[in-house]
Amino acid sequence: MPTDGRTAVEPLLGFADALPAAPSETSAPAPTHHLLTFVLDREEFGIPVTQVREVIRVNGITRVPQVPAHVRGVTNLRGRILAVVEIRTRLGLPEAVVTPASRIVVVEVRGRVLGLLVDRVSQVTKVPVESVAPPPEEVVTTETDFLTGVARWDSRLIMLLDLDKVLLPNA
């Protein structure tokens, strides 16, 4: 692990690409979703790696007065001020407690760069497109509006987040 507080995603991606794409790999390359997955309140969520710029350690988040409820604050990203979104409350989950495993996933959505505070990052993975189903009606912990689908795969349940809807409520 780098000790400067950052974990670059580029090497991570390279690493993931070098591995067999998935444990249940088939010989013919099936169409896949390339995801970064992370954990929020014991649930696993995934976002397209194309939207991820990097993953950084949490190194102090400054509260900003009078901000919308789902904004946790701001942090210093190499001299740039990065707004950090409390994605848990946005999804109707309790507010996050920052632990050593916590990370900020820096994403770019429609040209805007924002940080997502997550409990921990699990992996970069490829999920076959056919394993993704529309979001079930009975998902209780999440507002299904924010999901593009649910991947049932490798005995896991990965909820695919629609970052546009999560981060740009008025867009």
């Binding site: 190194n59 102090g60 400054t62 900003v64 007065p65 901000v67 604050g73 990065l82």
Partner: protein
């Protein structure tokens, strides 16, 4: 994109950047010339200085192949040359011709392109020709031409040899400022490291040297900062310059006689501030012409000269720049302000008479359709005030019935680096611009009394409100007890104390904006990075003094 396809585009942009101010200065000079001729003064010095500018404009336009601009500049140059030799021909007709020509020139230069329509320029040169032809002594143009050629050669010689001036894209200065900001942050980190090291291992010769080096680094950075800041400064005349002509047009449209007196144009401000200052100032000036100054008839009845006087004055005042816009018109209509405020549900009996005038800055108090029937002022005054506040400035108004109105603006010299007091409230740090800090005071619990649930204390002989930092900033710490210090914040004539947990120190901070994702907080105006890499919010003192943050 367009510049890629058209390498001419960049050149054209350079041309506009260089020539537009010249053309505007020419217009101002003509407006001033018109005034002087009416007053019976010759104005020869102005004619001479204007001819130099016209000559440069003519040369630059010719070099770009912009024939209409070249022709107009040339015609004006001829007219000036003629008027210089023929004082008898000076007068309203000549002045109107010159002002019209300058207006055309400004318009042509501002919209310069190779497809510029030559029609208006041809029309104007024809007007000049007939003006010169009708005049008795118009034959000496060739001599004038020779003189100009000599001047061209001299100017070329100057630019080839002695000029030390380079033009720089302002974005480069912004980039340098960013780098300087990083340097300042790294210096703070280094100084902090030195102190920790000193505590850990105790004093030594090497540590003493380190201390000295860190100190001299600070001095170097401070000098670098002031040099860079100076580079970013421009005289306010670059913004004031376009007003005389614009105000002349407004006065014409309103059918009023107005004299605009501009002073202090050499006062300097950061370009970033200046760029945003033009609009609100123009707002104030046009409002004064349209609604502040009375028609000549009313002025005569009031025993005032028919010509209304509008003053625009800038001066450096204790590290800030004060700008005053004043008129000798009818003054604000207090009864109308009161009535309008009552209509908006305000109880004006509780408003301090001195503050009553400042109600005109409230949104909705002076809407456009109310202007003429009510206070006679206020079109977009709240908008103008918002821009000024956004620049970290203040705006106040004072007025006397029948005698006139004065708007006073106070602006920070620069937006980019702000000397600030760093405070701590509920374990969060905030920066308070030092220009808004009057004093920091140790809070004695017995010295602060509660009146109507608001803390009040005696400060320099006055009673001021003291608000809890946690309440204003929405953190309301678990402490419960009184915080140990308060900061007396000021903006214009307003003051308020803010109770804080800790005074961390002074620091030059580099102002960074607020991400749109943060919504629109009213108590903070931006963010900055501190020496230890942490982020602090910058308090918006003006809006806090306006009562922002209270409801939270």
């Amino acid at each position: 994109m367009s510049t890629e396809q058209n390498p001419f585009g960049d050149l054209l942009q350079d041309y506009i950047v260089e020539c537009l101010p010249l053309a505007e200065q020419v217009g101002d000079a003509f407006v001033e010339l018109e005034r002087r001729w009416r007053a019976g003064e010759p104005g020869d010095d102005l004619l001479t200085s204007v001819k130099g500018r016209l000559h440069t404009l003519k040369g630059n336009s010719a070099m770009m192949g912009l024939t209409p601009m070249r022709d107009v500049a040339h015609a004006l140059e001829d007219a000036c040359g003629f008027l210089g030799r023929a004082p008898a021909s000076r007068g309203d007709e000549a002045a109107a011709l010159l002002v019209a020509g300058a207006g055309l020139l400004v318009e042509l230069v501002a919209n310069a392109s190779l497809e510029t329509d030559g029609g208006p320029a041809a029309g104007f040169t024809e007007r000049v020709r007939s003006f010169l032809g009708a005049a008795p002594d118009a034959a000496s143009a060739p001599g004038d031409r020779r003189q100009s050629d000599r001047r061209t050669q001299r100017r070329l010689g100057e630019s080839a040899g002695a000029s030390n001036v380079v033009r720089v894209d302002f974005r480069r200065l912004d980039a340098m400022l960013e780098l300087l900001g990083e340097g300042l942050i790294q210096h703070s980190a280094l100084a902090d490291l030195y102190r920790r090291l000193l505590r850990r291992v105790g004093a030594s010769e090497e540590l003493g040297e380190l201390d000295q080096t860190v100190l001299s680094l600070q001095k170097t950075l401070t000098r670098l900062e002031s040099t860079l800041m100076e580079t970013r400064l421009l005289p306010v005349s670059t913004v004031f310059g376009r007003f005389p002509r614009l105000i002349r047009d407004v006065a014409h449209a309103e059918g009023k006689k107005v004299r605009l007196e501009v002073s202090g144009g050499e006062t300097t401000l950061d370009k970033a501030v200046l760029d945003r200052l033009g609009e609100p100032l123009l707002h104030l000036l046009t409002n004064a012409v349209a609604h502040g100054l009375e028609p000549s008839g009313d002025r005569a009845k009031a025993g005032k000269p028919a010509e209304g006087v509008l003053r625009l004055h800038a001066a450096a005042v204790s590290g800030r720049v004060a700008i005053q816009v004043s008129d000798d018109g009818r003054g604000l209509d207090e009864a109308a302000i009161r009535a309008r405020a009552e209509a908006l549900g305000m109880d004006t009996r509780t408003v301090d008479p001195a503050q009553l005038h400042n109600l005109v800055f409230l949104p909705g108090l002076s809407t456009a359709e109310r202007v003429t029937t009510l206070s006679g002022r206020g079109m977009g005054l709240d908008v103008a005030a918002n821009v000024i506040h956004g620049l970290g400035g203040t705006i106040e108004v004072a007025s006397r019935p029948g005698q006139g109105t004065v708007f006073t603006l106070s602006l920070p010299v620069t937006l980019a680096i702000v000397r600030s007091l760093i405070i701590e409230v509920d374990r969060e740090r905030y920066a308070v611009p030092l220009s808004h800090v009057a004093e920091t005071v140790r809070a004695e619990p017995e010295a602060i009394r509660q009146i109507n649930n608001q803390g009040v204390t005696q400060w320099r002989g006055d009673l001021i409100h003291v608000a809890d930092g946690g309440a204003v900033l929405g953190t309301q710490g678990a402490s419960g007890g009184m915080r140990p210090f308060y900061v007396v914040m000021t903006a214009g004539a307003r003051r308020r104390g803010l109770l804080v947990d800790r005074l961390v120190g002074h620091q030059d901070i580099v102002v960074k904006g607020l991400d749109p994702a943060l919504g629109r907080p009213t108590v903070v105006s931006g963010t900055t990075i501190l020496g230890d890499g942490g982020v602090a919010c910058i308090l918006d003192v003006v809006r806090i003094l306006d009562g922002a943050g209270h409801a939270n």
